[in-house]
């Protein structure tokens, strides 16, 4: 642990994940937020954008006037950070980026899945933020790339099976059916995200070809059949993975695989059967927190494993994951600033 307080700034402070970073870091014992940027709300109080933060005595500043800090968090749309990364490193020792700009290990993947990359020289330096996948490389990292929320949910569900050898590149089809809340789209909005049109949907929004497939392939080595649906919630991403192992597995095998992977993880919970109302992972159970829940079930005959996982897309799926990774990079307690346990009951959070 450390006595030092790290100064931090947040680029993209009016956004949804920027707001979460503000909330987390302003309550974090080892960080002091000195700056949050906005072009559209320059000089306005942060509480005007984020009503939960009215108590915070801070005004947005222009992203062109970056102050010198220990850690800069960037929560801007895809494409911004890759153009600003030199300026970021002039202002800060450590850069944590929540966008897709440094997530993939090779420039060629940006050509394939995005519109190319303008700063490919940083890709090798960047470390993927998700500790359950990449903890060993995060300590001391100075460029951290937050994972995609749907990719995070999926990889948390599948990784124990990969580690246990029940699943690999040759296993056969892995179908991943994801359900997500409306905050995934960010604060920008648009016709499809107006309240009357977006409410109550079960809407196929990425039927095929979602870019998060690239991360899953890069970090799990799996080619998955990926489909994303928008459903009625604001916070939450839930992945249901249908896996057909070569050899039948038992419930005991599965418990062993998941316990082995996550028993020591501070933010992972295995929820699989049991009693009461909440028997499998659910976004509601983790809303507002950095926790991830995973669980599983077997088809009669054991020829299919169904894996469920649930996260809050803005926490474990981005801002929480980013702070978790920064904690590791800086040698802080892993859960510092991330202690919130979530609410019960809670509706469509």
């Amino acid at each position: 642990m450390t006595d030092e307080t790290y100064t931090a700034s947040i680029v993209g402070g009016t956004g949804f994940t920027g707001g979460e970073l503000l909330r987390i870091l302003s309550g974090h014992p080892d960080f002091e937020v000195v700056q949050a940027t906005s072009r559209s709300a320059d000089n306005m109080t942060v509480g005007r954008s984020h009503p939960n933060l009215r108590g915070l005595d801070l005004r947005f500043s222009d992203p062109d006037d970056l102050e010198s800090v220990d850690v800069l968090f960037s929560a801007t749309p895809h494409g911004v950070s890759m153009g600003q990364v030199d300026e970021y490193f002039e202002a800060a020792d450590t850069v944590v980026d929540l966008s897709a700009d440094f997530r993939l290990p090779e420039a060629a993947l940006y050509d394939e899945w995005y519109d190319g990359h303008t700063s490919p020289e940083y890709l090798e330096r960047a470390e993927y933020a998700l500790p359950e996948i990449n903890r060993e490389n995060l300590s001391g990292a100075d460029l951290i790339a937050g994972g995609g929320c749907n990719a995070t949910a999926t990889m948390l569900g599948l990784k124990p099976l990969v580690d246990a050898g029940a699943l690999g590149p040759d296993t056969g089809e892995v179908v991943v059916d994801v359900k997500v809340g409306s905050s995934e789209g960010g604060a920008g909005g648009g016709a499809a995200s107006s309240h009357p049109e977006r409410s109550g949907v079960v809407r196929p929004y990425a039927p095929t070809g979602h870019r998060h497939e690239a991360e899953i392939e890069a970090y799990l080595g799996l080619d998955v059949s990926f489909t994303v649906h928008a459903v009625e919630m604001i916070r939450g991403a839930s992945a249901t993975c249908h896996v057909f192992p070569d050899e039948p597995v038992s419930k005991a095998d599965l418990w062993q695989a998941y316990r082995g992977a996550y028993a020591d993880e501070p933010f992972m919970r295995i929820v699989s059967g049991g009693g009461g109302v909440y028997r499998y992972p659910e976004p509601k159970a983790v809303a507002g927190t950095n926790y991830g829940e995973v669980g599983f079930e077997l088809d009669p005959g054991n020829r299919r494993i169904v894996v469920f996982s649930a996260i809050d897309n803005m926490m474990k799926g981005s801002a929480g994951q980013a702070v978790h990774a920064a904690n590791i990079a800086l040698g802080l307690p892993e859960d510092a600033g991330l202690e919130f346990q979530g609410l019960h009951p809670v509706g469509s959070p």
Binding site: G148, C149, N150, S182, E184, G185, G186, G190, A192, S193, Y205, A206, H210, R211, H212, A230
Partner: protein, 62 residues
């Protein structure tokens, strides 16, 4: 449909079925197919030739 002019007919580029378009369509206009709902671009008139319109890369959030 304007009542004073007859609709024009064209071939749906996806299903090959004959479809009806308003009389006043113009080259370059985007119009949706009554069969598939797909957005089609009017490439030429007389005869009317349609092509699938390039999809708007609208990333509904991620």
């Amino acid at each position: 449909m304007t009542s004073d002019t007859d609709p024009v007919m064209a071939e749906d580029p996806i299903t090959g079925e004959e479809i009806e378009l308003p009389a006043d369509v113009e080259v370059g206009e985007i119009i949706d197919s009554p069969v598939t709902g797909t957005e089609l671009e009017v490439i030429s008139l007389d005869p009317v030739v349609l092509e699938e319109a390039p999809e708007l890369e609208e990333d509904w959030g991620e």
